[in-house]
Symmetry: C2
Subunit: 279 residues, 2 copies
């Protein structure tokens, strides 16, 4: 009997060409997940994911869903999949969901963190370098945080979008956008401070979080102020925003769902998984 | 004019055969440091390190020293070296030291952390897996900590030594040995708890920290008690101790020096760097 499974997955994106299958001899996270599902449950149908993370981007709580004839009970699926996955990709949780569920269209929000370090004169840290961007100059985190909060709300984020993945409508609702810092604790007592840009939204444009982070770094360096950042929401001028900062600092933290499909998803049940099937 | 430089280095050991040069086509941390020094300051003489970390072991504060004719001012050496080092090895600090200084023989203590996760039923975490060992079962951290503290003091650590690097005398002074846990915070809000075994001592036998950690995990699982661990200090029976746990959880946190050579080092100034020269 066919079931639809929702799986929460985490991965270190360093070795992959991104989440989405690319072909051309490149390995995507989707490729290794697909193969592991095939080996564990048989070939999946209507495979879809909440977010198409780019090459080098990590995930702590990506969500995928697919239909399967496989009979492994949902609670045993993570361990069974992990036996067929490489060490840098892991299934954390699995549950059976209604066929109406789509991991992307029914997501209420996704939260990304852009992690960075090195703004206090500390030099390159190999134990952080894989998951955090090295800021090589002094930055003002408080100024960045003030500017970040100006992006909260429903706005046209055209200025925070790179070419390459055209959308009809660049309006997105940002629920949370803030800058903070904490002590890095792996290994314990490392003493390094890490900073982060946290963005929760109902959807993201191409490179949106990395351009927001790059723009906030300009604020941190005193090259832009919060008003200039807010003005980008009306001008829509990509060239007025900061650079797209490197992928390895970015991590998809989690995807939130309500029990009902999110009202702002604007997609009917009939349009679910099929349209993003890869098989 | 020849100077002796002391450099604090950090590295992700995942890609290396260990700190020490092995030859046979293998790349050691020493190899890449040596090449970077050669390119920056000319060939180093009397190169030595505080600890010979094994393949896969990381360092947050390894200390090396060497003699050089190079004229780059000490404070500029880290950035100059980093320009010639791969991303997984970094020079954090440099200073000129007297020719009597030896990074290993004059160390008062070295501190290692063995980091682990997954004892609360959480599954494999790709974002932790590179630097922390996955414990796949419930363990009692408080019991481990009580047993760990029994190892503090000057003892014969023969039971906590693997064959392969013979020593005349297996007595070492452990200044600190404890077990704790904390919230993993990279990326922020990961929610994973990481545990650690922290060991500070005046010297370490082959695999000593990894066998101590392996033995403490046996305690955590209820297979040994603190008295049995303490008894290993008198029996010296390696087979009574736990297994040698994997290298990737281990990290050399720091090396402490006093202004004077440490009294317990038992080495005269004449025996310094030369005996461990690699060139």
């Amino acid at each position: 009997m066919t079931r639809r499974l929702k799986i929460t997955v985490s991965y270190d994106g360093g070795a992959y060409c991104g989440f989405q299958r690319q072909g051309r001899g490149l390995t995507s996270v989707q490729d290794v997940l697909y193969r592991a599902i095939e080996a564990t449950l048989g070939p999946p149908a209507r495979f879809a994911a909440a977010g198409r993370t780019d090459s080098g981007v990590h995930a702590l709580g990506q969500v995928i869903a697919f239909d399967t004839e496989g009979t492994v009970p949902a609670e045993r699926v993570p361990l069974a999949l992990n036996a067929n996955l490489p060490g840098d990709v892991s299934a954390l949780a699995a549950e059976e969901v209604p066929f109406a569920f789509h991991p992307r269209f029914h997501a209420q929000s996704k939260t990304y963190a852009y992690t960075f370090y090195g703004w206090q004169g500390d030099v390159r840290q190999p134990l952080l370098a894989r998951h955090a961007y090295e800021v090589r100059r002094a930055i003002d985190l408080a100024a960045m945080d003030l500017a970040a909060r100006r992006l909260v709300g429903r706005h046209d984020f055209s200025a925070f979008q790179d070419v390459g993945r055209p959308v009809r409508d660049a309006a997105r609702t940002v629920f949370r956008c803030e800058v903070g810092s904490g002590q890095h604790c792996l290994p314990p007592w490392s003493g390094s401070r890490v900073g982060f840009v946290l963005v929760e939204a109902d959807g993201f444009l191409y490179h949106m979080v990395r351009i927001i982070a790059g723009t906030l770094f300009e604020v941190g360096r005193g090259r832009m102020d919060a008003d200039a950042v807010a003005a980008l929401l009306t001008s829509g001028a990509r060239r007025g925003a900061g650079p797209t900062v490197p992928a390895h600092g970015l991590c998809l933290l989690n995807v939130k769902y309500s029990s009902e499909p999110a009202p702002h998803a604007g997609i009917t049940a009939a349009e679910t998984l099929c349209c993003h099937a890869i098989d």
